[in-house]
Amino acid sequence: MLFTRFLAGGLKSPVIIGALVVILAIGVIVPVLNLAVAPGSAFHIPDHMVPLFGKYLCYAMAALALDLVWGYCGILSLGHGAFFALGGYAMGMHLMREIGDRGVYGNAVLPDFMVFLNWKELPWFWHGFDSFVFACIMVAAAPGILAFVFGWFAFRSRVTGVYLSIITQAMTYALLLAFFRNDMGFGGNNGLTDFKDVLGFDLQSGRVRSTLFFLTAFFLALNLLIAAAIVGSKYGKILRAVRDAEPRTRFLGYRPDKIKLFAWTVSAIMAGVAGALYVPQVGIINPGEFAPANSIEMVVWTAVGGRGTLVGPIGGAILVNAAKSWFTGVLPEYWLFALGALFIFTTLYLPDGVAGLIRKMVGKARSKPRGKDEETEAPAADAPAGAAE
């Protein structure tokens, strides 16, 4: 009851409602165009495009998660890829268990890579992943707990700004190194792959692919709704107060560390869910997902879309990744040039992203912006932390 009322709080803005409708519509239309429309038709979406679009939506979810902390809380996380990957690994571990004895070595108890490494029994942390429900809990718990512990330490000691960014990067880098190790028990270099089924359904079948795509769209919509509800609540106001003038909130009696910790943890869980949906669609999770470069790319999706707007980063992630797919197909040499230029261009000329640009144009057309609406409010850039001095 309380929670429903809380979620209803996310529906205050027409932009959010519109975005929710669009996302859910895409979630239905893409599978329909894939399954129900004949392959020859101009409207047919080929099989390989469905997981590709699904991947974009997962990235969009990660960008949304990042926006919640960066746009509304001023924490530029260079480590969200770690949460994404942890969620992915949790799901990947379950999918590995579902392979059962159909692996190359035909071992019913041990995944292939453990047989290969001559392991005799399943490590303790793999127990439980036989259960899909347990895996789903871990999808949220693994990134959530990491984020909680990390944030608890970091925010309590008032680590802010670039320092915080750098240690988030160190965090994901440390995990990258750790997951590369064979003896960590997560498949080392190769990660987890060769998945067969999810809940007994063949991952290669068109229907499962479509269902996964729909679920991704659904969770993206759900996360957007939750994020909008959080941002629109009084807590959201506190969050932005902390972002703009953290010391000031302390003198009002708020504990910025606790305030930030909640948003940070929620955001990490969202990223974890995105990773969990990403893995069955892409078919592999490996330590490369922890690479610092991945996390920074998430930042550019958010920046291009427009941080502090919720809807913007979703569009940004899809836009940038579509561009990436195009470039790597046509001009693979130049993708990094384009991406680098995008970083520079966005920060120099588009500090509020595409969403900010649109808002400015709409604002000009209306001549006077309404200050009250969440979605039309201009959030300041990361205000210097010492503002209260």
């Binding site: 970091a154 240690i167 920074i296």
Partner: protein
Amino acid sequence: MPLLRRLVLLTFAALALAFPATGARADAAEISAIVDRFATASKFPQVEAVIEALGAAGDPLAVPALRALEAGELQVAPDGRVVIERGDALLDPVTLEAAAPVEGRLKKVRTKNSIRRMIGDVISGLTLRAPEPAIRMTAAETIFASADAAQLDALEAALAEETDAGVKSRMEEARAAILLTASDDPAVQMAAIDIIADRGDQQALAVLATYANQASNADVQAAAREGVAEIESTLAMWQAGQNIWYGVSLGSVLFLAAIGLAITFGVMGVINMAHGEMVMLGAYTTFVVQETIRNSFPGAFEFSLLIALPLAFLVSGLVGLVMERGIIRHLYGRPLETLLATWGVSLILQQAVRTIFGPNNREVGNPDWMSGAFMIGEMSVTWSRLWIVVFALCVFGALLFAMNRTPLGLQMRAVTQNRRMASAMGIRTPWVDALTFALGSGIAGIAGVALSQIDNVSPNLGRTYIIDSFMVVVFGGVGNLWGTLVGGLTLGVVNKFLEPYAGAVLGKILILVFIILFIQRRPRGLFALKGRAVE
């Protein structure tokens, strides 16, 4: 090691030429006669007998022939002559002068592993009384390792004549090693153990440890065990010293990579994510300089690094200057955006280098003075690492001077401490910023020159150092050169001490975790600026 071997071979050659003049215990003709017996030695035991005879003759003139035999160069001609075939040349096995051409096919004198070992022992026996102390030393060392009782007489004879104290003690150790196994008098063995234990290195440990497992006498065995323990503790000390050295060497690399970053971060509060790429540009500058020298002035190769240093400084500094003027200037007061924009620059620089130079590692050579290694006790020190440590200290000294004694340094410090006040005092802060950024980038460039000597020069070079550099800066604290030095060295040493216990990767992870925790306790680093101005 190759250097050592080359040295030994060289001295052998010199020795062979010099010997007839110094007089011999047996003359050349006699040795030649024995060497010629290889012609008829078709079975291994016969070959062994000839080698023994050469050893018994006790003349170092036999050494070249034995070496040739060991290397598989000793051949028998159809006419029964024994010659050395080296490349296209045929040499007399004793005089090493060119031998008469041979009709027909040469037949190699065959050897096997045990014979080659035997040759080594015989050679060391023969060279025990060579005129050069270094050769005698090597001979004694070989005997020490083999502990071959057959060499005892030759050794004692040599010992009686030996005048060089260092060689003498080596010979005594060798004798002790022989006596330890050869003698059955416990008193002699005890004395031998004492001598070997005092030597205290890896070989001594091997000798004693082997013996401790097979000793017949319980007392002697106990003494040997004690000796082993003693040596082990000595070696542990040396190992610690070695670790510290490795740590210092890694630390100075980290320091070099991080110091430019510390300067730009300290003065401008700007995190330059492209800093690693500045290092990479420096390394590629070295590559280009060396290529040019190889193609046009091969003689100047020894000076290639000295030429590359200023060029790398200029190249990276210039790129930094352009970056500051073109991008960063517009982003002041927005540190997080600066971080992103510079990341964009780093992607572009990386891809540009990849496009121009290719994605693979490029070969950057070490000049002679940068290659090789030497030993201090049980510590091995490579010249390249030593020079990098020295270089890092020079860079540190130069920066310390620049910051404390030059007008630019004064202005930079003023801007670090209070930008607005500095500006009000008439310091042109934009100018200081630009120069600071150029300086920080330029130093990254010369760090690249140093790194090109010990690491692969590839487009990813910068990526491998950037996070470590951040850690050094964060750990050491901002705005303080000493912080970066101490931070770099500490992290280097801690890293190298963790490695043996935790492995390289886990060690690194532990360090990252440690820094993440450390920054919680001291968010501004080890050597942070204190006072109200910071809060």
